[in-house]
């Protein structure tokens, strides 16, 4: 049994410790917002937080998350109130939407580390997250918008 804390909720899962966290989140816990895209940390669709750090859950063994604070897209806010979610809606970012959970989770870490990121900061932080619909220009705008909201003291 491995103990997990995901989105502040405790779980006990009976899986082998080398199982990638992605499959545990999706299949054992039923949190399907986190996506499988490549299985080799090339696309970022599976990005979640472990103790606030962006992690590619498709290559992170579940053992690494044991007892740590894991946050998935479902845990970002209960009501679409996170500045990134609001910015994503305002800028009409998603198209097919499949990569967007990972994009938002990567952006959340960027904004914590760089509350007013430059375009270069965004390039660096987001280059690992692929989008085949080409929503990159809107992601960039939405990150800047969320940064402005947070600077004005909007909800974290």
């Amino acid at each position: 049994m491995i103990s997990l804390i995901v989105n502040k909720k405790k779980y006990e899962v009976d899986v082998s410790p080398d199982t990638p966290l992605l499959w545990v989140i999706r299949e054992n816990l039923g949190l399907t917002g986190t996506k499988y895209g490549c299985g080799m940390a090339q696309c970022g669709a599976c990005t979640v937080h472990i103790n606030g750090e962006a992690v590619r859950s498709c290559v992170a063994p579940v053992s690494r998350a044991a007892g740590q604070e894991v946050t998935t897209i479902e845990g970002l806010s209960p009501d679409l109130s996170h500045p990134l979610q609001r910015a994503w809606i305002a800028e009409d970012v998603p198209q097919c939407g499949y990569c967007q959970s990972g994009q938002i989770m990567a952006a959340a870490v960027l904004l914590r580390e760089k509350p007013r990121p430059t375009d270069e900061d965004i390039d660096r932080a987001m280059a690992g997250n692929l989008c085949r619909c080409g929503t990159y220009p809107r992601i960039r705008k939405a990150i800047h918008r969320a940064a402005r909201t947070m600077a004005k003291g909007g909800p974290k």
Binding site: I73, P94, R140
Partner: protein, 716 residues
């Protein structure tokens, strides 16, 4: 009401009520799926698309599927405009497989070819107007007044002289008993209040909090997970399988061996993947096991020496060429391409003695249904397909191969089984954009203006396989699309298609279809003619577009916004490309690139001018152009599937490279607004990008790109 109508309505009601899962994403607050499903039995259902429940909720049964292109917003806008409801009052349900939802361009339920708005611009407005008229008539009958004295607005009917009002919910039951009107009047463009506005997408909230349900997200009681290894060579067969080690992996339940694929069925994906890796499969590669990319190119080049089926002939090209002052010849090549949708192919199937359910995301509902019926041998009415949001289509989900495969596997599994392809399986078992080979000859007169144009397209006839009824007189409308509509005023034109099939890979539709390939070669070759004629590429095109004012308008706008005549620093260049096809959209793009001394390409800026006629949602149009451009840049710079011994060499995003955030140019989209017929918008941005980039590289370096992906060092 005809018998057919009755049966159809019963069927729809059953489908909707029987499966709450058909109803998706965008509920009004406090509304449960079950409540909505139960409402259907008392609902006002004037046609296949519209349900007005007794609580006033409006459901649009979506004929087209959402794969990012915004159709789940544009279609409701069409309905809401005429039904007189607010856009956020509309809830969406995926349509079941039923001919009531056929796309008029294909005669079946199909989302593709940039056709959704074009196909449903009138039917959905008519559906809304019909429903509204019946609701108004119902209110007028209740009040015993003239319907002409009543007005519908915001989900309610008001008797204007007295101010009495009844909501659509109050009217639904009575309206259902009324006869459908013989004739309804649709609003003119000047009365549109929703169409033409940048309304927010309805699917966004579900896509930023993890609740959007894609096919891969299906979860069912007792469900097991499978992943597969299909023959690495098309046409290959399984000879033997040593599955001892795979069966020993904890969580692995079953190995399903079929003639061309082996599936590992497990409690979860990780066990299935490990099981697959532990399998020792011996394959008989069959006749394609020795084929390499070079063989394909050689046979295409050989085929290009023969003549093909004439698709267009103006004047006497042979005579015009013979009399030309200058003759220019060129051949072009475009590689096999994978779609690489972010959501890999997947399909969940539960086969039982008495029925079969299929959960997937498909662009072709009726084909998905038909293949499940065929593979299971069950009666059509006992097979149900549940469609989902699609995590990227780009043509990949116009094919039902992965559905057929999943149903074949599921027949051997005593539980619902979700078959998920790994990314490697996806890249190596796609239905690829074909390899094309094009041969051009043009003649210029003494002034340098073109007098003859011959274009020979060599490639497969996808239509012959995919829509055989549309393959007439050997003419493949896809292979020649974008080439036969050549807008340039050239007195002698010959366009022909040499059908040449390469069985080594399955080939099909890829974003922009035949137009993407043809626009690359045509807009590159016209650029060659401009260079040979020592004329500016924009000015040269402009002088040849006398019969196409809409084309001139987009060309002028793109050139103006891009600052076409402004000088650029050394190492940079601008290229232009123009697109027109049967999508009905005119698009001009100016690309600006920088080429380093080492031959590296940096795309700096893309400017597009678009005339797609009547615009339903300008924000979605712009997003689609941006999207198409990014897809086009990835393909132009890096996209290439190569074959060794019949096997695809690429396997994942590390060697099938696509554009990333840090490589993203600025993109500007400028719309020309008018009241022409709506044109398609999902694909044009892709089609025009490769030639604009190639022409920009020529401007920057003097090297002409005649083969994709762009490799400057190989160019001359």
């Amino acid at each position: 009401m005809s018998t057919f109508e009755m049966k159809r309505r019963e069927f729809l009601r059953f489908s909707l009520a029987a499966s709450g899962g058909l109803l998706i994403g965008f509920y009004l607050p406090g509304k449960s799926k079950m409540a909505l499903a139960q409402d259907q039995s008392k609902a006002f259902t004037p046609n296949a698309f519209v349900r007005v429940a007794s609580d006033g909720s409006v459901t649009l049964v979506m004929p087209q599927v959402e794969m990012g292109q915004g159709t789940y917003t544009a279609m409701p806008m069409l309905l809401a405009e005429e039904l007189e409801v607010a856009l956020d009052q509309i809830q969406l349900a995926h349509a079941p497989a039923d001919k009531a939802y056929a796309n008029r361009f294909f005669g079946e339920q199909m989302t593709g070819a940039s056709s959704s708005v074009r196909a449903f611009f009138e039917p959905l407005r008519r559906a809304g107007a019909t429903a509204r008229t019946m609701l108004v008539n119902s209110a007028a009958a209740r009040w015993k007044v003239d319907p002409g004295s009543c007005q519908a607005r915001n989900g309610a009917v008001t008797h204007t002289p007295t101010g009495r009002t009844l909501s659509y919910g109050d009217l639904a039951a009575k309206a259902a008993a009324l006869p459908a009107p013989d004739k309804v009047t649709l609003k003119g463009p000047k009365d549109f209040t929703l169409i033409g506005t940048p309304a927010k997408r309805l699917d966004t909230p579900s896509k930023v909090n993890g609740t959007a349900q894609f096919g891969i997200d299906v979860r069912l009681p007792r469900m097991v997970i499978a992943t597969v290894a299909a023959s690495p060579v098309v046409g290959g067969k399984v000879v033997g399988v040593d599955d001892e080690k795979a069966k020993a992996v904890p969580g692995v339940r079953q190995i399903v061996r079929l003639d061309d694929v082996v599936a590992v069925v497990a409690d979860h994906m990780w066990a299935a993947k490990q099981g697959l890796a532990a399998l020792d499969i011996r394959w008989d590669d069959g006749p394609n096991g020795r084929v390499n990319t070079g063989d394909v190119v050689r046979s295409l080049a050989n085929a290009s020496q023969t003549s093909g089926v004439t698709a267009r002939k103006d004047g006497d090209p042979a005579a015009a060429l013979a009399g030309a002052a200058k003759k220019i010849e060129a051949t072009y090549e475009a590689p096999f391409l994978a779609h690489a949708t972010m959501e890999p192919p997947n399909c969940t199937v539960h086969v039982r003695k008495d029925g079969c359910d299929v959960w997937t995301g498909t662009q072709v509902m009726t084909r998905a249904h038909a293949t499940a019926v065929e593979v299971t041998g069950l009666p059509p009415e006992s097979v149900v397909v549940h469609n989902h949001l699609i995590g990227g289509g780009f043509g990949r989900r116009l094919e039902e191969d992965f559905i057929t495969q999943a149903v074949r596997i599921a027949k051997h599994v005593d539980a619902p089984v979700k078959v998920v392809w790994t990314r490697e399986e996806d890249i190596q078992h796609d239905v690829y954009r074909p390899y094309y080979y094009d041969r051009f000859t043009a003649g210029l007169d003494a002034r340098g203006m073109p007098v003859a144009w011959t274009h020979r397209i060599v490639g497969p006839a996808i239509i012959a396989r995919y829509l055989p009824a549309a393959f007439k007189d050997g003419k493949d409308v896809d292979a020649i699309d974008g080439a036969v509509q050549l807008l340039y005023d050239i007195p002698a034109i010959h366009v022909e298609h040499v059908r040449h099939e390469e069985p080594v890979l399955a080939t099909g539709f890829w974003r922009g279809v035949g137009v993407t390939h043809n626009t690359f070669v045509i807009e590159s070759f016209i650029d060659e003619l401009a260079a040979a004629s020592k004329r500016d590429p924009v000015a040269f095109r402009r002088t040849l577009l006398g019969k196409s004012p809409r084309a001139i308008a987009v060309l002028d706008l793109a050139a103006k916004e891009a600052g076409w005549s402004r000088a650029l620093p050394r190492g940079r260049g601008r290229g232009v490309a123009l697109l027109y096809s049967d999508w009905g959209t005119y698009l001009a793009q100016v690309a600006e690139v920088e080429v380093t001394g080492a031959g590296e390409i940096r795309v700096r800026r893309i400017v597009c001018a678009v005339d797609c006629g009547t615009v339903v949602n300008p924000a979605i149009v712009k997003a689609q152009i941006e999207s198409g451009v990014v897809y086009g840049i990835s393909a132009a710079l890096w996209g290439e599937i190569t074959i060794k011994n019949g096997r695809v060499k690429q396997s994942n995003f590390h060697n099938y490279r696509v554009l990333r955030m840090n490589e993203m140019p600025s993109i500007e989209v400028h719309l020309i607004r008018n009241r022409e017929t709506p044109g398609g918008i999902g694909e044009p941005g892709t089609s025009v990008t490769a030639p604009a980039l190639a022409n920009a590289i020529y401007a920057a370096t003097g090297k002409r790109i005649r083969k994709l992906p762009i490799r400057i060092k190989e160019a001359v």
